[in-house]
Symmetry: C2
Subunit: 411 residues, 2 copies
C-alpha cells in the first residue's frame, strides 16, 4: 500500500525548495548584443562613455543666454537677433552672445555661449532675422548637460538582469557590442511509466504516447533553460535508478514525470532520496492538479518529480520549474505572477484545503473579460492546450461563484 | 512652425488602427511540432485518433463489476476474489467476473468483464487472494471510456492559436509530427535623423548612436515578427521618401522612428500619407512618453511612426506593434495586458489629459510588492533598461499618491 503523503502548502513548498538550493555556479559565454535577447547578464555592466556626450536641447526652440530673456512675457516680449540654426548631428560653427538666439531642435547641440532653450511655443517669428521671446528661461532650462544621464564608470545594469529590448538599446547606446551572458542550465527531462511510449510510435492497447517530454521541453526552453530529453524509463526500480543517476550526473537539474500510479511515484521519491543530501524536501503539495509532486535537492542539484498526467505536469511545472531555472541562471527577477481580472461565468467547485487551478477560456463582453472554466474528466491535455489562462482557487475556499472576479494567469 | 497635433486617446487610436487593417494574408510553412513552440497555428487541427484509446482507470484501486460491490460499507464490507493485476502498458489477459476484482493502477486498462474501479482508499487486503471492499461503486465510476476525451474528427485547436507547451503536448498525444504555422511577418525598421549614426561607429560631436533599430528589432522578434533592419535615413525629404517606399514594398509592415524634432516628425507623417490610402489615421496620442506617434495603413500595409527617443519608441512600440503583429499572424489572442499589483512608494505627478507611463523598480517588502518610480530628466534608455515594469497613470488623473495601489506591467 502506498504511504499517505504529508501535504505542504504550495508557497511553503517553493520556499523550502529555493532555500535548499546552493548559490548558482554560473557558467557564461560572450555573445554579440543583438543575439543576446532573452538571455541573462552574467556580469555587471558599467558605463564606458558619458551620455549625453554633448550639451543637448530637450525641446524644439531657440538657444539663448538665459539672461537675454529675463523679464520677457506675453505682454512685454523681448526681441533677439537670429544668428543661425544648430545643425542636427553636427557642431554649430557660431556663437550665441547676449541679445542673440539660434534655432535648435530636440537633441541638437547648444551653440557656444548659449546656456538655455526657449520652447518654440513661447516664441514668434518677428522678422527674417529676429525672434520674439514671450517667456523668460533660467540657466540650464530645457538643456541636458554632458554626463547628466550616464557618467563613465557608473553601474548601469547588474548581473542577473534579463536582456530585454530596452537593455539591448542601452548597451547599443554605449557602443557595447558584446555581452557576457549565463549559459542556459541543462535540464534533464525523464518520463517514466511502463505504459509510456515514444510519441512517434503507434500505441498498442494499454499504451499512451509520451507527451510530457515534449511539453516540458518546450516549457524549459520558454523559461530560459536547455532541455535534455532523456526518453522514457520503465517502472522497474533498477532501470529508473540507473537513468536518474545518469541524468543527475549529466545535467544541472532533473525533471522527472513519475508515472501515474502511487506506487511508482513512491519509487521515484525513494530513488531521488538516494541521489545525495538533503534529498527529498517535499513530497505532496496542497495543490490540484499535481498533489504528488516531489521537490528534492541532491548534492547541490535540484530535482523535481512531477505527476505523470500531462496537465498536472505542466501546471505544477510552471510553478516550480520557472523559479528553479531563474535561480540556476542567477536571475534577479521577482516571483510576481502577472494576471488579468475577469468575471467568472459559472460556479466552480473546489475542495477546501487544496489550492486548485482551472484552465479557462477568456471572452470579451463589451469592456469586460469573462473567464469560462474548462471542466474535464480526466487530465486531458487539450483542456490546457485550448485554454487562454488558469484561475486559482485559494487553499481555504470551497470554490468560486459565477459573477465573482477572478485572477486569470495567461498561458 | 510645426502644426499642432489633434491628440487621440490611446484606446481609440488602437481601435482605429486595427479596424483599418485588412484581413491578414497568411503565408504558412510546415514545421516539426517540436520546433514550432511560440509560433501560430495556420490551420485548424482535427483529431486523428480517439483518446483515450482504451478503457482506463482514473485512480489506483481495484477493477470490479459494479454490481459485485452493491451494499458494501465500512461496517459491512464485501470480500472479492483477487484474480490478477492489470499490467501498465499492456492488455490484461484475464476476465473479472461477478465476485472478483483485479489490481489496477491509474491509467491502466480495465480487464474484460469489469466496468468500475474501487479506489484504493476504500479497500483493504483481506488475504493473499481476497480484497475487502468498503464502499460500493456505480457502473463507470473512476473509469474513462474510449473517445471520452477526444473523438476522431473533432476540432481540437483553431487556427490563430499560439503554440504553447500544452499545444505541443496535445499534438504529440495525437501522434501529429508536423504542423502548419504562420510565417512571421517582415517588419521593416527604419531609423531617421541626421544626428543618428550606426551604433558600431564612434559618435562625433552632435551625433548619437542608433538605439531604436536594435531595441525595436528585439521587440519585434519577441512579439513573433521578423525584423528587417533598414538602417538610418537622413532627414532629407527625398532620401526619406525613397527609403519609406522601398520599405513598404519589401516588408509586410513598417516601423519608423521619426527623429526628435517636430518638423521631422511632420515630414514623416506627410511621407507616410503619400504611400497609399487610407494613409495616416492617427497623428498624436494622449500618451506620455510618445505623444507624436503616427499610425497609418497604406494600401493594406500598416505603418507606425514612433518618436525618436528610445524610451518613447519602446513604450509606444509595445502598445501598437504587439497587436499589429498579432493581426498579421492571424492570432486569436485577446488584448488583455496582465499586471501585478504593487504599492506605490512615492507621489508620482502626471498631467491630466494624458495617459502617462512610468518605469518602476519592484521590491518585495514582506508579502507586499513596492513599486518605486524611476524619474529621469531626458528620455534615458537606461531608465527603462533597469526597470522591472511600467505603471500607467490614467488619462484623467493628476498623478498618483504614495501608498496607492498600482497596476505594474512587467517588462
Amino acid at each position: 500500500m502506498p504511504e499517505f503523503l504529508k501535504l505542504t502548502p504550495p508557497d511553503v513548498a517553493l520556499e523550502t525548495f529555493l532555500l535548499n538550493l546552493p548559490a548558482a555556479k554560473l557558467q557564461s559565454e560572450k555573445l554579440p548584443v543583438i543575439e543576446a535577447a532573452g538571455r541573462t547578464l552574467a556580469k555587471d555592466i558599467y558605463a564606458i562613455e558619458e551620455l549625453p556626450a554633448f550639451r543637448r536641447s530637450t525641446v524644439d526652440g531657440f538657444a539663448v543666454q538665459a539672461s537675454s530673456t529675463f523679464g520677457a512675457s506675453d505682454s512685454l516680449p523681448i526681441y533677439l537677433q537670429l544668428v543661425g540654426e544648430s545643425p542636427m548631428g553636427g557642431q554649430p560653427d557660431f556663437l550665441v552672445n547676449k541679445g542673440q538666439a539660434a534655432i535648435i531642435h530636440t537633441g541638437g547641440m547648444l551653440p557656444e555661449g548659449s546656456n538655455a532653450v526657449v520652447m518654440m511655443e513661447y516664441t514668434q517669428e518677428a522678422s527674417a532675422n529676429e525672434v520674439e521671446i514671450q517667456r523668460a528661461v533660467s540657466v540650464g532650462e530645457n538643456v541636458i548637460e554632458p554626463g547628466e544621464d550616464v557618467k563613465p564608470g557608473e553601474l548601469l545594469l547588474t548581473a542577473g538582469k534579463i536582456i530585454t529590448p530596452a537593455v539591448i538599446g542601452g548597451l547599443m547606446s554605449q557602443g557595447i557590442q558584446e555581452v557576457e551572458v549565463a549559459i542556459p542550465p541543462r535540464i534533464g527531462i525523464l518520463s517514466s511509466g511502463d505504459e509510456v511510449i515514444d510519441p512517434y510510435q503507434t500505441p498498442k492497447p494499454g499504451q499512451v504516447r509520451d507527451v510530457n517530454s515534449y511539453s516540458l521541453s518546450a516549457l524549459v526552453t520558454e523559461l530560459g533553460g536547455k532541455p535534455v530529453r532523456l526518453g522514457v524509463s520503465s517502472d522497474q526500480e533498477e532501470d529508473m535508478r540507473a537513468r536518474v543517476r545518469e541524468a543527475m550526473d549529466a545535467c544541472d537539474a532533473l525533471v522527472i514525470t513519475a508515472g501515474s500510479s502511487a506506487s511508482v511515484r513512491d519509487l521515484t521519491a525513494r530513488i531521488l532520496g538516494e541521489m545525495g543530501s538533503p534529498g527529498v524536501l517535499v513530497h505532496g503539495i496542497r495543490f490540484r492538479p499535481g498533489k504528488p509532486t516531489i521537490l528534492a535537492v541532491c548534492n547541490g542539484k535540484p530535482a523535481i518529480g512531477l505527476p505523470g498526467n500531462p496537465v498536472s505536469a505542466l501546471v505544477v511545472g510552471g510553478l516550480f520549474i520557472k523559479p528553479m531555472i531563474n535561480h540556476l541562471l542567477g536571475r534577479n527577477t521577482r516571483l510576481a505572477r502577472p494576471y488579468v481580472l475577469a468575471k467568472l461565468s459559472t460556479n466552480t467547485p473546489s475542495q477546501a484545503g487544496k489550492e486548485e487551478w482551472f484552465p479557462v477560456y477568456l471572452h470579451q463582453e463589451g469592456e469586460k473579460l469573462i473567464a469560462e472554466p474548462i471542466f474535464y474528466k480526466s487530465n486531458l491535455i487539450f483542456a490546457l492546450a485550448k485554454a487562454d489562462g488558469l484561475i486559482r482557487i485559494p487553499l481555504d475556499a470551497n470554490g468560486l461563484e459565477a459573477g465573482e472576479q477572478v485572477e486569470v494567469f495567461l498561458i
